[in-house]
Symmetry: C2
Subunit: 416 residues, 2 copies
């Protein structure tokens, strides 16, 4: 990797140091990092972020759902729609230090670099840290950006009861981040989110930059199969109504379809339970979840329909009854082709390998894409590990990603 | 069904009444029947049984593991090896009223009938109620007959710690059933156990009598598959090491082999768990049990070997690591061909349909077969239901089975 041919480049030392600094906030006695949304640790992270925003002369605004915005206005561009960069700084339990934070802090570096170089951008450039992206304490996840994009009313969101019985609205008040701005108060010209991949593809392929052109649609179902509990020794195979066997057939069916989809569909059965769950009793009940994803809405619907058809056949052939319940459903998101091209061009200028890719995980960008042209830049996650203290990205890749973001922003809102 | 051509026939009214009487012992306030081994309810059942044995003039003996024997001696046959009939009167939790009790109480009817008819048997005829056949409170199951047949020392058995923390030896003392006879003190000439099938075959086929020629061997294993936990959205299918998928492949493999075995092998996966057991995480760990049964030892070993080979292939193809642990292993038992033929002949004389069959469940007879010629007689379980308050057998079948037992005993030890 080389950035020597770049006229302007972000302050990599400061970026890496800030990632470390923010990463130390929320460590417990066992050195586990946890900053759940609207917790004391989240407040400490937010406070630090705002100090940094103010150091760079940004105007700080907080909206009613607690989203933080640091905005670099000039007198000339104050009435223009801003370029918005961002992500989130809340974490899962026992988290790594890059997920979300990398995008927010790189946004600050981009602004600082442009300021230092004397660039006079044609539009404001702002950095957002959205509330409760992770959805661990309050559901749904990506809540701050969902509310910001108008997909959930701020009143309903603030009434959310947490896994610990708290009310999100009260917790935001308590930590001092129940702002006054209406969500959506800034209408972005574009939204760009720089993020670690949280998957293995870039790392395995040795590519530094992912130009994320779309985000998978997600279909979550809970499937319940009812058979009949029978003695494992005395019941001939042909007389069984084995809910567990039927569940296993669904799992292998889903894998076979995913294999046949040429890398487009992913399907996961992550949870399962049998009843009565005894060694020598044929299961009368099997319950499991299905996580189906595809970047194309029509294909995702085809997968859902194929599964539904298979469940019908299976219910008949295994003489069991099967029901399914939709747990979550998000349509795929297509990102803005122009921004994706700018990302590829920026990588090319920096002599970085890039590839177009699909985001397998959900991100704030999928919500922001509802209200403005949006795209994402991915950098490699070593071995694809995320939501884990082992989450890691090489410094060179972190710097490369931030410089790609800088170039894209410069292109979109460069010198007037 | 007709028994009119029988010269002597058991007192069916008394048998059915005693089944009801014994069945009322151990009912709780919700009318659930539970007589766990060496519990107060078990003591009450034992006390009642001994009253009945004494009413019929039987000599009652208790051995050190609490097995109860009621023996009909005559002066002439006192030195002969006895014909032993029996089963058990302990129950599972929330049990039916026939499992075990039917064989014990029918044994008493057989003796009473022979006595009433003035038969002078060439050998003593005895009825045994073995301790802790069910194995719910103390493991292993079939403990009383296992100790009696020399498969487990009485000292070790008495030290067994129960699921409630009690010691079996202390509990037998407490309820007054720690006897003084050494297990094995009576060397039987033959052992015959009449039992409900606890499976659906006789009921489905409309056959009254099962002439049980063998008992399946049982192999229990716990299989643990280790893969890698990965994000369900960001991890391409080809990069997964999905422990749950591998578990599902084992389950369907076992079923396919069982289907191909022409009704000989049964295979059951009754328990399963995934870790971390989250909707959107590829399982890193899958643990499940396998219950494999076949009436032929060589075939059972072939099934075990086939599974082991498959697990090796699967570990390679799915890039997971797989370990297995033997939880239990019993070789198949072949019953005595002469007694099985006597059972068929008795059924035929009584104009009852009979079929040779395999016992899919474990019974005291499998232990007694170690020390004397043994066999079992099955009668239908309606819909195959057992270990459940819905356990049921038609009265006509209960009576038929006891009459078959009577005829077999009469043949083995008839008038001198």
């Amino acid at each position: 990797m080389t950035v020597t041919n770049l006229k302007q480049s972000i302050n990599s030392e400061r970026l890496l140091k800030r990632l470390q600094d923010l990463g130390r906030i929320g460590l417990d006695n066992d050195n586990k990092r946890t900053r759940l949304a609207a917790s004391d640790a989240d407040k400490a992270g937010r406070d630090r972020l705002i100090v940094w925003m103010k150091e760079d002369g940004l105007e700080v605004e907080i909206d009613r759902i607690g989203n933080i915005f640091g905005i670099w206005y000039s007198t000339e561009n104050r009435n223009e729609e801003p370029i918005l960069l961002g992500s989130h700084i809340d974490t899962v339990i026992n988290a790594g230090m890059y997920d979300g934070c990398y995008g927010v802090l790189s946004g600050l570096e981009v602004i600082n670099t442009l300021q230092k170089k004397g660039v006079k951008p044609s539009r404001p450039i702002a950095v957002a840290a959205f509330t409760n992206e992770e959805g661990v304490r309050y559901q749904p996840d990506m809540m701050g950006s969902l509310v910001y994009a108008g997909g959930l009313s701020v009143e309903d969101a603030l009434k959310t009861v947490g896994s610990d019985g708290t009310l999100l609205g009260e917790e935001l008040e308590r930590i001092g981040y129940a702002g006054t701005k209406e969500p959506g108060f800034l209408k972005p010209y574009a939204y760009i989110e720089l993020h670690i991949e949280q998957g293995p593809i870039l790392d395995k392929e040795g590519i530094s930059i992912g130009a994320v052109e779309n985000l998978q649609g997600i279909s979550w179902q809970r499937i319940t199969i009812e058979g009949i509990a029978n003695h494992a020794g005395t019941t001939p195979i042909v007389m069984r109504r084995d809910a567990g066997l039927a569940a296993a057939r669904v799992i292998t069916y889903l894998r076979d379809r995913a294999n046949a989809s040429n890398g487009q569909t992913v399907a996961t059965v992550g949870t399962i339970s049998f009843k009565p769950n005894a060694v020598n009793v044929v299961p009368s009940l099997a319950t499991f979840t299905v996580d189906l994803r595809n970047p194309n809405e029509q294909r995702l619907q085809e997968e859902e329909q194929a599964l539904a058809n298979y469940l019908k056949e299976l219910a008949a052939s295994e003489e069991v009854s099967i029901s399914s319940e939709q747990l979550a459903r998000f349509s795929p998101v297509s990102f803005d082709e122009n921004i994706v091209k700018l990302i590829e061009q920026a990588a090319s200028k920096l002599e970085l390998h890039s590839k177009r890719m699909t985001s397998g995980a959900g991100h704030d960008a999928q919500m922001m894409a509802r209200i403005c042209p949006s795209a994402m830049i991915f950098v490699p996650s070593i071995e694809g590990i995320s939501h884990n203290p082992k989450e890691a990205t090489n410094d060179s890749d972190l710097i490369a990603g931030a410089n790609v973001l800088l170039d894209v922003v410069n292109n979109l809102a460069g010198n007037k």
